[in-house]
């Protein structure tokens, strides 16, 4: 029986929702194909996540636990993933397309001589491999890409699939791992954590994103207040991360994060094609912009034409009322 394996990413001590989305999808693919749906988690506290993973239908959870995985570093992660692949020999190995995944996916494919399709919007099994849909050409169009191989790696954009619980009492398999200091090819000096306790954009149910229209501290304060009322993550257009108004890790768009929350509120964002490429898959999009011809309105479900400084205060107040 062939195995479809999903890599479960952990970030800041939490299961990444995007990897559980991928696991949910792999479960349904495996059921339809009569394959085994398995998962692997690699972390300093990997075993503490087993329960959370079982809920999404993995029949086996492979666990690689070692203190070295406390922070992301590509040398140990690559070594662990290579070992996992060699011992499990999955026909498909699926990942959520996080920055951690992007850092090792190509190297893993080269190491394992596997075919690889990165950053897909959807994928399914075909005879002898996988076929996937990928946004290309600045996300203006899609292509269909086929990988014909007995080993296929695929990474999936967050929000491409819904979470789907189907609890299994999974068998837990511990995989030995050890790594000598001399094997480390690079050194992690420090992590400059910009986010602190802010909400991870790839995981957020709601996002409030600021654009060029947000001009000053008053504007930023309104963005923060709206985000706080909605328990939303804060994102920004490239214009505002480049000018240093918001941290680069908050950039949404083709070159930043690609997000797909339930609710996306674009405030003072014109909607350049590069930005839209990063948020067009959101379930409900609200745009607030004073230019009625701003392209963001072409993708917005609800467009408010008006000055954000005048629109946001009553908007926030009304949402507070509804929430209370």
């Amino acid at each position: 029986m062939s195995t479809i394996l999903t890599y479960i990413a952990i970030s800041d001590g939490k299961l990444k929702r995007s990897s559980l989305e991928v696991l949910s999808h792999c479960k349904s693919l495996a059921d339809a194909a009569g394959a085994s749906c398995e998962a692997v988690v690699i972390d300093a506290n990997a075993s503490s996540f087993i329960e959370g993973i079982q809920k999404y239908g993995a029949s086996k959870v492979h666990v690689v636990e070692d203190p070295i995985f406390k922070n992301h570093m590509n040398t140990p992660l690559l070594k662990a993933l290579s070992k996992v692949m060699s011992s499990i020999n999955p026909s498909v190995f699926a990942f959520a397309s996080t920055e951690g995944t992007k850092d090792v996916l190509g190297a893993l494919a080269a190491n394992q001589n596997a075919a690889v399709i990165a950053d897909v919007a959807s994928f399914k099994l075909i005879d002898g491999g996988v076929t996937a849909k990928r946004p290309v050409m600045a996300a203006k169009i899609m292509n269909n890409t086929e990988a014909k191989s007995d080993k296929v790696l695929v990474s999936v954009r967050s929000g491409s699939y819904d979470l789907n619980e189907s609890p299994e009492s999974a068998e837990v398999v511990n995989i030995d791992f050890s790594m000598d200091d001399s094997e480390m090819k690079s050194t992690l000096r420090e992590i400059i954590s910009a986010s602190g306790d802010t909400i991870d954009l790839n995981e957020a149910e709601a996002i409030v994103a600021a654009g060029r229209g947000v001009k000053d501290e008053d504007g930023k304060a309104l963005i923060s207040e709206l985000a706080s009322v909605l328990k939303a993550g804060i994102g920004a257009s490239r214009a505002l991360t480049e000018s240093g108004v918001y941290d680069p890790s908050l950039q949404i768009g083709q070159t930043g994060k690609v997000v797909s929350p339930q609710l996306y509120i674009a405030v003072g964002i014109s909607g350049a094609i590069q930005h839209v490429a990063g948020m067009a898959n959101s379930k409900v999009i609200v745009a607030i912009n004073k230019d009625p011809d701003a392209p963001i309105f072409e993708v917005a479900d609800y467009g408010i034409v008006g000055d954000l400084y005048k629109v946001l205060p009553p908007f926030i107040e009304e949402i507070k009322k509804i929430k209370s």
Partner: protein
């Protein structure tokens, strides 16, 4: 790579680009820029390498006009069906017996956004590497890279030789001036045939293949609310609750 902002259309699953021009990938331009900055600070030489058909020479000239010292053009006919893995194998074969401190690459190409080739090359050459760099410094002969990770920026120190893939958030690539453009015409471009790199042609056969193109499912524009700010703000907030059900 083709200019992703040129008009394009899809006919029966095939992609048709109206313009036949090749441009320098924005992420690669950032890698070139950063190499030039490091050279200005620490000395050394900047060499650019490009795999592409004959018309890619224009793109190579642009990097030379920015200030790169010399170039190698690995000639592809343009008809090959290569994927990221094929390109990584060609580059690795080229670099195998070369001396270098750092191989800088764009983190992905703007047309396909795959982002695989850089770490593939590093793996083939057993190089220390990192991806998605937003800043580079040289300290005590090591490369110190600031990379954008999932929940913060990671400062990573790499011994040389190493490979690094660059984000376009790293810098604003310089626009070549007239002097640079004139100088670029005298700079050498080495032409190399893939067949001379000692790779078995069957190894370059791609495992992945684009079978067709299609339009994105269009997102319907919703309703625009214009009028008195206070009124429309409250109306839309209500609709998010009662109609869209997302509050």
């Amino acid at each position: 790579m083709p200019d992703v902002y040129a008009p394009l259309q899809i006919k029966e699953g095939e992609l048709i680009m109206d313009a036949d021009r090749m441009v320098l990938n924005a992420y690669d331009a950032s890698a070139v820029e950063e190499a030039l900055v490091l050279k200005e600070k620490h000395g050394g030489e900047v060499e650019v390498v490009c795999i592409g058909p004959a018309k890619a020479s224009e793109t190579i000239r642009k990097a030379l006009a920015m200030g790169a010292d010399k170039a190698t053009h690995i000639i592809a006919s343009g008809d090959e069906e290569y994927d990221s893995a094929s390109y990584a194998k060609i580059l690795s074969a080229f670099f195998k017996d070369k001396e270098y401190d750092v191989i800088g690459l764009g983190k992905q190409s703007q047309d396909t956004d795959s982002g695989l080739t850089g770490s593939m090359v590093a793996e083939h050459l057993s190089l220390p590497y990192t991806t998605n760099a937003v800043g580079l410094e040289v300290e005590n002969g090591n490369l110190v890279v600031k990379r954008q990770g999932d929940s913060g920026q990671e400062m990573i120190e790499l011994p040389t030789p190493c490979a690094v893939t660059c984000s376009n958030d790293m810098n604003d690539p310089r626009i070549p001036n007239l002097k640079g453009i004139m100088a670029s015409k005298r700079k050498p471009i080495d032409q190399v045939e893939i067949s001379s790199l000692g790779i078995d042609e069957t190894e370059l056969q791609a495992d992945t293949k684009v079978t067709s193109y299609e339009e994105k499912p269009a997102r319907q524009a919703g309703k625009k609310y214009e009028g008195e700010a206070e009124e429309v703000a409250r109306e839309v907030a209500q609709l998010l609750d009662t109609e869209a059900n997302v509050l």
